[in-house]
Amino acid sequence: MKQHKRWLIPLLLVVLAAAAAGWFLTQRPAPQRLDEDTVIITVNGREYLRVPLSQPQTVTVSQESGAVNVIEITPEGAVMKSSTCENQLCVHMGEVTRDNWEWRVNGAFIICLPNRVTVELAVKEE
């Protein structure tokens, strides 16, 4: 009986260690794993800034070309307050919020095509 117990503990440890190693190995990098709803701003397709909704603020994106976009982040979402683009479509896209992102034509995105700026509300989904 005692002999069995001596084998049991190392065996358990080895199997648990193998299970834990397997678990860690299957974890892929999660660049956008979200702890909370977050606004992701991109410029020219590259991520520029990430702001959780818990930190409402106004973000100004100024580019070397002279293009300027002002984005207001509220506790509920984000809106393009102003843009130097000609067509002003992004300003007219309205606010993207936790409540409306699934019902908008552009989904979770506000897009300024001329200035190549996007604002995405990344909602934490279960």
Binding site: H4, K5, W7, L8, L11, L12, V15, L16, A18, A19, A20, G22, W23, T26, Q27, R28, P29, A30, P31, Q32, R33, L34, I40, T42, N44, G45, E86, L89, H92, M93, G94, E102, W103, R104, V105, N106, G107, A108, F109, I111, L113, R116, T118, E120, A122, E125, E126
Partner: protein
């Protein structure tokens, strides 16, 4: 021995639990990407996407833009348009797209035509000049619009008569959406791939439900939705007269040109949405519907075994007979 078996069973349960946690997290893991191709913004949202999938999607878009854009120097389309009547060797994919374009053009009675390019070149819907063609210019360009005259030779050659040109803007995004969806299948749990008016959804959302896709209200403000449809593994393609337009002398001109008149289509439709598993076909057919008008568009959709919804200029929604069997429309 019994205790060893018990220990092994306990360890196995631990393994399963840990593996289960891992899979659940991967299902919910969300990544998004933005790119600028084909003069529009492309967005990808992936749930549980394999490592490298996002990069593959962007690489595919860049490759297809290099092949299919009429404004990229040296692209297949650019070389075809500059060939001056000579045969041009193209990529097999370009050849296949042109083959399908010819088929759809025939099915739509020419309402969809990639050879509209000499006419569309006479208009400026995006540059701010509000240029529109004279009657003489249109009279010279319209005889060049005829997809049946695209000669597709063996070994992937394409020949156009001198003066003819093609523009794949009405079909290429659909083709690329199909290819992007194929890249995603089996390599993520769910995806929403957006190419302007072309949306392709793959799989399911993390909670197992379908994806909600909003259909643009043609008469509404920029980005406003007319209705929402929930889809699984399907493409939703919408064309409308609101996309690119200008007003001149009190008349509104939009970018969907009637290949017969060379002017903006004046049918009773303001928007057309096609839902199916083939984004390339949906892309071309949605455009053709706007040109054809409600009655002919519904007949075309039925003849091609496609489902869709049409929004007329009074804002009334008309659906194909089988639409309600597949999807519920929700007002916004």
């Amino acid at each position: 021995m019994k205790r060893i078996r018990q220990a092994a069973a306990l360890a196995a349960v631990c393994c399963l639990l840990l593996a289960g946690c891992s899979r659940a997290e991967q299902t919910a893991q969300r990544t998004s990407g933005v790119g600028f191709y084909f003069d529009t913004v492309v967005t990808f949202t992936l749930y549980g996407g394999e490592e490298g999938l996002m990069e593959k999607l962007h690489a595919a878009c860049a490759r297809y833009e290099g092949l299919l854009s009429k404004t990229v120097s040296g692209s297949d389309v650019d070389r075809i348009n500059r060939a001056g009547g000579e045969a041009v060797q193209v990529d097999p994919e370009t050849w296949a797209i042109l083959k399908r374009a010819k088929e759809i053009s025939a099915l739509t009675g020419g309402a969809f035509s990639v050879t509209i390019a000499p006419v569309s070149a006479l208009w400026d819907f995006t540059g701010g000049t509000r240029r529109m063609p004279s009657e003489d210019e249109l009279a010279a360009a319209l005889p060049l619009v005829d997809d049946s005259r695209i000669i597709l030779g063996e070994d992937c050659t394409v020949t156009l008569a001198a003066g003819m040109m093609i523009d794949l803007g009405g079909i290429a995004k659909g083709y690329i959406a199909d290819q992007a969806a194929a890249l995603c299948r089996g390599h993520c749990n769910g995806a929403v791939l957006s190419f302007g008016g072309n949306i392709y959804t793959v799989g399911k959302k993390p909670n197992g439900s379908g994806f909600n896709v909003a259909v643009r209200d043609p008469q509404g403000e920029e980005g406003s939705a007319k209705c929402v449809v929930t889809v699984f593994d399907e493409t939703v393609v919408t064309s409308g007269i609101y996309e690119r337009w200008f007003e001149k002398d009190g008349v509104r001109y939009h970018h969907i040109l009637d290949p017969v008149t060379g002017y903006s289509a004046v049918s009773d439709l303001a928007g057309a949405t096609v839902i199916c598993g083939d984004s390339m076909t949906a892309d071309a057919v949605a455009t053709a519907c706007i040109v054809l008008g409600r009655e002919k568009a519904l007949a075309l959709l039925e003849s091609m075994d496609l489902e869709g919804l049409l929004i007329d200029r009074d804002g009334v929604i008309h659906t194909t007979p089988g639409f309600a069997e597949h999807w519920n429309l929700r007002s916004v």
